[in-house]
Amino acid sequence: MNETGVEGLADRVPFRPILNGLRDAGEVLLLIGDVFRELPQGIRKLPLIVQQMVAIGIGSMPLTLIVALFTGAVAAVQASYQFRDYVPMIYLGTVIGKSVVIELGPVLTALVVGGRVGASIAAELGTMRVTEQIDAMETMGISPTRYLVVPRIVAATIMLPILTIFADIVAIVGGYLVAVLTLDVSGHTFTSGLKLYFHLRDVFSGLIKSVFFGAIISTMGCYYGLRSEGGAEGVGVATTQAVVASCLLILIVDYLLASFLFRVLFA
């Protein structure tokens, strides 16, 4: 690309961010296309996938669980404050259970993992890019998509729902502990409320979302990592971009999926 065409148009300031955004979106779609093409071969690299599952899943577990515990605890404090004098405390368990499995569990887990895993994938692949390791891999006839990208995306897509299940449980336990120990709500009242309007589809909706979030985090990490250039600074920029893009996309896709699941599928 040179003086004319898209680049020339992009030099007019107002167009630049829009065109850059469109270019990025197009490149991400191409990467996703590559991933689907390489998936049958890439999925056979089981040791690589397991290695990534450990790094992404087990590695993120402590942080995720601490975040979940306090999320549940805060939800209990806030809900009880709102309920006081208006809503019976039996609904405390109901509101905590629902808000955790539908929204707080999947989204907060995704945001935490997005920061941790998205950054680490982008930094690792970015460093490999700027030290010519990716070029070396291609020169050896090994596809970086098959060898690096597919295992990461598969691992993250599997591990995010699993992390979310643990986060859901720990967050509800956090809410329970705060309710029982500090809010004068009996354990029985809390669990009765929890069961009151419990629907399995709420849990599934959260887990479906987390599958998408896992794919988003790993895809953004890989995309920005692989296209980084210009040494340490470039890797830093790629890492930041990967985390920012992951967080934004998680929230946007959360809205879209919520609309689809609750207005169309479960309506």
Binding site: T131, E132, Q133, A136, M137, T139, I142, S143, Y147
Partner: protein, 233 residues
């Protein structure tokens, strides 16, 4: 960056491309392996037009080529042995014991033994380059590309690498294309030297011809002088 480069390299020949930093020497190499695509023109390897190849065909063609990168480009998540064995594990059905044998043999060839279990980060610059050379040779390539093979190495290690490159070409008949601005290295490994200047092959000839040339730009470059037609950048 490259504007009208025309260069033909025969089988088993060793060609060194010299030129100042930023003249596109590495870019030229990357076009040969299809890591970069030319805006115009063709790149033929064994009669196959590289830019026109699809993804899978390109990967197949690359198995016949090895490339030594400037910094070695060893995968730092793998041990040296795993690095050297990776192309074999990916592209052949060789059993583990065979892979280990080849890894040992290739490391021996480059004068590195007993480093199989070390991480690349624990190797010196020269050792990294030699390990990377062993990896590039793992699949017995017909063509080897060297990007600044001696840059950043002490003179003794540099000489060792030069001898290795020469030996590979003479004994195994590997076609080699090296890019460098180390003239000592160029004289040592080249059958022909080509100087890249202003996007074109400015001069070409046997090392003795290049040494004897009267072309002011070539003279300035090989003598390493700040005065002459090539301006400091």
């Amino acid at each position: 960056m490259l504007r009208g480069v025309s260069l033909t390299i025969g089988p088993g020949e060793s060609v060194v491309i010299i030129g100042r930093s930023g003249t596109g020497k590495s870019v030229l190499l990357k076009h040969v392996v299809g890591l970069m695509q030319p805006d115009a023109g063709t790149v033929l390897v064994d009669g196959i037009d590289v830019p026109s190849l699809g993804h899978d065909e390109l990967l197949t063609l690359r198995k016949q080529m090895g490339m030594l990168f400037q910094g070695g480009a060893l995968f730092d998540s793998l041990t040296v042995g795993e690095n050297v064995g990776l192309p074999l594990r990916e592209h052949t059905d060789a059993e583990e014991s065979q892979v280990e044998m080849v890894v040992h043999e290739k490391l021996q060839l480059v004068g590195l033994e007993g480093v199989e279990h070390m991480r690349p980060s624990n190797l010196s610059g020269g050792m990294k380059k030699r390990a990377a050379l062993a990896r590039a040779l793992a699949l017995n390539p017909k063509i080897m590309l060297y990007d600044e093979p001696t840059t950043g190495l002490d003179p003794i290690t540099a000489d060792l690498i030069n001898r290795l490159i020469r030996r590979l070409q003479e004994r195994l008949g590997i076609t080699s294309i090296a890019v460098t601005h180390d003239m000592r290295s160029a004289y040592h490994i080249a059958d022909r030297i080509a100087m890249l200047h202003e996007g074109r092959i400015h001069a070409m000839g046997a090392p003795a011809e290049i040494q004897a040339t009267r072309d002011p730009a070539v003279r300035q470059f090989i003598e390493g002088s700040a005065e002459g037609p090539l301006l400091p950048t």
